[in-house]
Symmetry: C2
Subunit: 151 residues, 2 copies
């Protein structure tokens, strides 16, 4: 594959420059945070490989690498919940990306049928123990996963 | 170390239950997204190991694992930019955390002196190439890193 991104430069170039040199980990992946353009809520965390990132940049539609399925994944290809990318940012050391997205279909981003994947809160303020309980928040089901993905 | 978190249960228990069973990767780490409580912007991406997560939960002050320094890292221990955790959420498969934070000192979260780490935008809408240029956004310096961290 022809090089799509600039090679990693000096520490200063990576952190203070205008050159885009995304850092892929040992598995060839970069971490991606997706927030909803309307609500600002974090709706998903996923990974891209270089191909997924290039396709995302070219098409403005989010593509990821599915670690569980080991394949390129055009978000929404099965469910219709395509993510149109409003903006894409990179962090200081260029090993994480932040996508602001507008999601198609019902607007759900989580395969469980919810708007986002972060629908449970962890209690804080005392030492954790195995009996601690998560509480559900933003828990509305926007679609029925069994109908979309099968039984 | 005594077990602090519940063991991973069935797929259904992990995604639909109230049991907190964070999944740490092969390096013992879990991905963490931090957003600012006031602006809602993503300000940082980092990792926690089990100890950092337990300390974060117990104290409501964000602790991370510094991969570059290979040590537990109480955010703000050098700079005073402590992150008070307003809420902590976990995603569907419990391998990512979302912290909403209020940051002390100048309110900066990035070691470069900025409010957040995502201060550069990647152009989208055409195929990437090594010459593409990032543009700076939310670029204000809230502190001088050379004064805080040394030359």
């Amino acid at each position: 594959m022809t090089e799509m991104f600039a090679p990693r430069g000096s520490h200063d170039a990576v952190e203070s420059g205008t050159q885009f040199s995304p850092k892929f980990d040992a598995d060839g992946l970069i971490a991606c945070i997706a927030t909803d353009a309307e609500t600002g809520q974090v709706v998903m965390f996923a990974h891209m490989n270089a191909e997924a990132l290039a396709l995302t940049i070219e098409t403005s539609i989010a593509h990821y690498w599915s670690r569980s399925r080991g394949k390129l994944w055009r978000k929404g290809e099965t469910s219709g919940h395509e993510q149109k990318v409003a903006s894409l940012r990179v962090d200081c050391d260029q090993d994480a990306l932040w996508l602001v997205v507008r999601t198609g279909g019902t607007g759900a981003n989580c395969h469980t049928g919810r708007k986002g994947c972060f629908y449970r809160e962890v209690p804080i303020g005392r030492a954790p123990d195995p009996e601690m309980k998560l509480s559900f928040v933003d828990d509305e089901l926007l679609f029925d996963p069994s109908r979309v993905y099968g039984g």
